[in-house]
Symmetry: C2
């Protein structure tokens, strides 16, 4: 299984945001592009992929919205349609208690859970990986079968998050000489894994 | 110089389309994501890149809109903002005569020109490359300094376009085992060139 966790530090966690101004809601546009690039290929979804958006912006943080490639239905890969689903999902999520999770539509779940709890859970069953300029070259990295990539949004991963990941045994990889958007990284990660799997 | 030409067979060429329903205008959402992924990196633009969108949809085809990383100003990487600029640019383009070109805003030009004319021009000064499952592996390919990648949209490149490209001496490359969206391909192409250049 391939999992991606995007830490979206400022992404709005309550549904009051405008679909016409996504960049103003903690860069919701970037969140949507990352979901799109993580899950879609031409004419299909990546059934072996789950992407979790750990959202820490106002007004109802923390929230994690998870999209399951295997069961997802109805969603389209454009930013506005994805944002519409996020809005609906956040609305349903307002009533959640801490660590409670519900499935709002086919393949889309929301929980009131902190990023830290999610990565701790994943560290027990999956190889945690995050991106770092001094990490090992992605093309030489020894992947396990179940991997979880942790990506930062436009702000990047805070130092204390990197320290937590280090304590959990996460590995660092380097994708190349340029610093890319999270939405770009998932494409390169998938391409590398696709090449290993076939 | 890196150039990308996206052949968008159904993308609307007159400005009457809704920013709220981009997928309905010949998959304008996909066009916008391809532009975004081709030109942006974290905190900067790719100054060495030009992307041309060869648009053949209704009602004023053919049109080519070209985005120059070196001189682009004001644009943001989200789909809606890019679509807004495309709309404005198409409006200015309505008055163009065949093969005439104008700069509508900093780093954005439009011409009334056919895709075929553009690739013929580029073939004189740049290495033409298109994607094909039987092409050479991207990672082993011998790139020249000036390259032009030709990408198809959701429909793919028609057989007659591939034949034209073959006649012009274009090379075929293969990115990996999965068929991706054009917007994904530019990320992988850039990553490979970034690794060669540094």
């Amino acid at each position: 299984m391939r999992e991606i966790i995007l830490l979206a530090l400022k992404a709005r966690t309550s549904p009051e945001f405008s679909l016409d101004r996504l960049p103003e809601s903690g860069r919701m546009d970037l969140v949507c592009r990352t979901i799109s690039n993580a899950l879609w290929i031409s004419k299909d979804l990546r059934r072996d992929t789950i992407i979790h958006i750990a959202m820490n912006g106002p007004n109802s943080s923390p929230k994690i919205i998870s999209f399951y490639g295997e069961t997802l239905k109805g969603l389209e890969p454009d930013e506005r349609t994805i944002a519409k689903y996020i809005k609906l999902t956040l609305k349903e999520g307002l009533k959640l208690k801490l660590n409670e999770e519900i499935e709002v539509s086919a393949g889309i779940k929301i929980s009131k859970k902190a990023f830290e709890s999610l990565v701790k859970e994943k560290s027990k069953t999956s190889q945690l990986i995050y991106l770092h300029p001094k990490g090992e070259d992605l093309r030489k990295f020894n992947f396990k079968k179940d991997v979880t990539f942790i990506l930062g949004d436009y702000i990047g991963l805070p130092r204390k998050t990197e320290k937590l990941l280090d304590r959990l045994g996460a590995k660092k990889v380097n994708l190349g000489p340029k610093i890319l958007f999270a939405s770009h990284c998932s494409i390169i990660l998938h391409n590398e894994l696709d090449r290993r799997t076939f």
